[in-house]
Every structure is written in C-alpha cells, then in structure tokens.
C-alpha cells in the first residue's frame, strides 16, 4: 500500500516517519511514471513495515514538487530521519532503484 503525500501531510508522513520513506513524484500523463507505478507498489508491499512508500502527484502538488526542485519525472527520493538521503531520476528496475536509493 502506498500513501498519497500532499503538502498537508508531508511533515507527518515523511519527515516525522519512524521508518525510512520512499517518495515517488509522478503524473498521470507521464508514461515512464505509469511503468514505474507497479514497481513502486511492489516495493511498498514487499517492504511493508520496513519502508514507507509515498506518492506525490506533481500536478496536484506543484508546491511540494517545486520545493524539491523536481524537474524531471519520475523522480524517486528517499528520506530518513527527516532528511532527504537520495534522489533517482527516470524509470529503473526494482533492484536498481532500491540500490540507488540506498536500500
């Protein structure tokens, strides 16, 4: 299960999360994002309880996307203890993605 992240819940769900968080910045019209979607979903199921997985729709959350200077999607970020620890741009396979996010 992924969590929908908004400006309103970002602080609580991401920055104050007791476990690491992966955040997928995406949009419906972006085909690489559509291909990444199921991979993100898979990670959320496999890592349930270990890693929280959130999704930010950049169309609806322009301010949040701007705050992290998201300039290309899909962009996936990792957060740990309230800090951004990694950022990966583009469509990657699950293992590659997790490795480059530091998991």
């Amino acid at each position: 299960m992924t969590v929908q992240i908004t400006s309103a819940n970002f602080q609580k769900e991401v920055l104050e999360s007791p476990i690491p968080v992966i955040v997928d910045f995406w949009a419906e019209w972006c085909r690489p994002c559509q291909m990444l979607g199921p991979i993100i979903e898979e990670i959320s199921n496999e890592k349930a309880g270990l890693i929280k997985v959130g999704k930010v729709n950049v169309d609806q959350e322009g301010v949040l996307a701007g705050q992290f200077r998201i300039s290309s999607i899909p962009t996936v970020m990792a957060f740990n203890n309230g800090k951004a620890t990694a950022q990966v741009i583009g469509l990657l396979r699950k293992d590659d993605l997790l490795k480059r996010l530091g998991f």
Binding site: A27, W29, C30, R31, P32, C33, Q34, M35, V58, D59, A65, R69, I70, S71, S72, I73, T75, I89, G90, L91, L92, R93
Partner: protein
C-alpha cells in the same frame, strides 16, 4: 495498418525486414540515412566479401536485396514521434503511420553536447523529453536546443506549457519554422547553474532559463524508448528480453541500440531473431 514498422535501415533493420517480408507480413522500413555504417569506409571483418567494402556499399546492397523481395523502404524519412501502444502511431517528417508493432534499429546515437555544465545539470533543468517534463515548467522560461524537425516537434509539445520559449540552434542553421519564438543561432559556451539550471551563455550574451530541452539532430532509439516508458540503462542502451522485446508489448529493439557487440554480424543476427519473435507475437494478437 502495418504489422511491423521498422525504424532504421541498417543491418539489424534490413535483416529483420527480409525475414518479415518472407513471412508475408505487411511491413515498412523508415530509414533516415545510412547510419553509422554510411561513414565507414573499410569493412573487412564481415563474412563473405573477398575484398574490403565500404559501409555505404553494404547498406545500399541491403536496401536492394530487401526491395527485390518487395520490402517498402522509405529513405531520407525521419521518425519524429511514436505514440500509443498496440497500435502505435508513428509520425515522421513525411507522414503518419499506424502499426501493430515497432522495431527500433536506429543504432547508437548518444545525445552529447560538449558544453560545460551539460553532464552535471542533466535532470536539473536539462531534459531530453518535452512530453515527460514540459509540464513541470508551466509558464517558465524554456530553451530548446536544436535546429531541425526534431526540435520543431519538441517545440510543438512545449508551447502547450509556456509561451516563454527560445530556440538555441548552437551554431547550426535553422531548417524549420519556429513560429514567433526567438531564435539564438550563436553556439553555446556554457550552461549555468549549480543545483539547477539558471541560464545559458553564448560568446556574446547570457540568457536566463529555467529549463533547456535537448532536441538536436534526430531522435535516437533511446529517446523514443524513454518517452514510451521502456527500460533504458545508464549507457543509454534499450533493455530487451531474449526475444528482443522491451517491457512494452509490441515494441522491439535490435542492433547497436541495445548494446553488446557493436558489429554488423551481431546486428544482422539481432534483426533475424527479432523478426522471428515479432512474427510469433503477431500470431498471438488479434485485429
């Protein structure tokens, strides 16, 4: 509606075309030029030729061979975009085509701009895909690098997002219309910005920009693949399975664009294997 549209007329594309034509498939080859082989003057490691041959001779012999079998080859035509999936809609500078499957055999053409900042600012304001990233720059200052049909195609996409567009031809002469948008023809000397792109610099002037979209030359196989959501590795090679299929049903790739041994022999083999796999796939889909 074609069964197979092959992008590229090199050894992988033509080899696939020959097999598919003999399978009586309805196919078309769109070949922009003679590719990397066109500029190869001396080939003596390819099977069956007593004396060295030029790449041009080999490519032309391939075209002649395919045409003798009835293959429809559109030379000097450039694919600009591939949309949809089963069927795919292909737009070229000569027309539009519908096809059940696509085989990418365009060779390896890595976008490369020898300008300071190009590598470090990729994904930080430098983008290779208007339809992927244009929306993120709504009403911002956008630059487009390019001078031909590919640039014009990206311009069409990007003008949906912003009116603040400038075309940078980087020293090339402009071959297409840019509507009312300003054009800078001077070569770029530096891309500016630390955390993200802030502008570009020519010898004479600095231009403030929020994003620069690269659409120079011709779109490569990986440009198409990225836009369509196919896996492309960090070397810009398209990832395919043993059947030369990408992760998108009906989209195949073969030859140099999937990496491995960059040799004619391997491209020919790829093309043949891809053709067999595509023929099998076509039997499984109705319509």
């Amino acid at each position: 509606m074609y069964d197979v549209l092959i992008v590229g007329g090199g050894p992988a594309g033509i080899s696939a075309a020959v097999y598919l034509q003999r399978f009586k498939r309805n196919i078309i080859v769109i070949a922009k030029d003679h590719g990397a082989l066109g500029s190869t003057t001396h080939i003596e490691n390819y099977y069956g030729f007593e004396n060295p041959i030029t790449g041009k001779e080999l490519v032309e012999a391939g075209f002649a061979q395919a045409r003798r079998l009835g293959v429809n080859i559109h030379e000097n035509e450039e694919v600009l975009s591939i949309n949809g999936s089963g069927p795919f809609n292909i737009k070229t500078n000569g027309g539009e085509y519908l096809t059940k499957t696509v085989l990418l055999t365009t060779g390896m053409n890595r976008p490369n701009l020898r300008v300071k900042g190009f590598t470090t600012l990729q994904g930080k304001g430098i983008s290779f895909c208007g339809i992927c990233d244009g929306f993120l720059y709504r009403n911002k200052k956008i630059g487009i690098l390019g001078a031909g049909d590919f640039m014009a195609e990206e311009l069409e996409v990007l003008r949906n997002f912003s009116n603040n567009l400038t075309v940078f031809t980087n020293g090339e002469s402009l071959s297409v219309s840019t509507h009312e948008y300003p054009v800078v023809t001077e070569p770029l000397v530096e891309l500016l910005g630390v955390d993200s792109l802030t502008g570009v610099k020519t010898q004479a002037k600095t231009y403030d920009l929020d994003a620069l979209f690269i659409a120079a030359g011709t779109p490569s196989a990986s440009d198409f693949a990225v836009r369509m959501g196919a896996f492309v590795n960090q070397k810009n090679e398209i990832e395919v399975d043993p059947n030369f299929s990408t992760n998108i049903a009906g989209l195949y790739a073969a030859g140099d664009c999937i990496g491995g041994l960059l040799q004619i022999s391997k491209a020919v083999s790829d093309g043949a294997q891809a053709a067999l796999a595509i023929n099998k796939y076509l039997k499984t889909i109705t319509s």
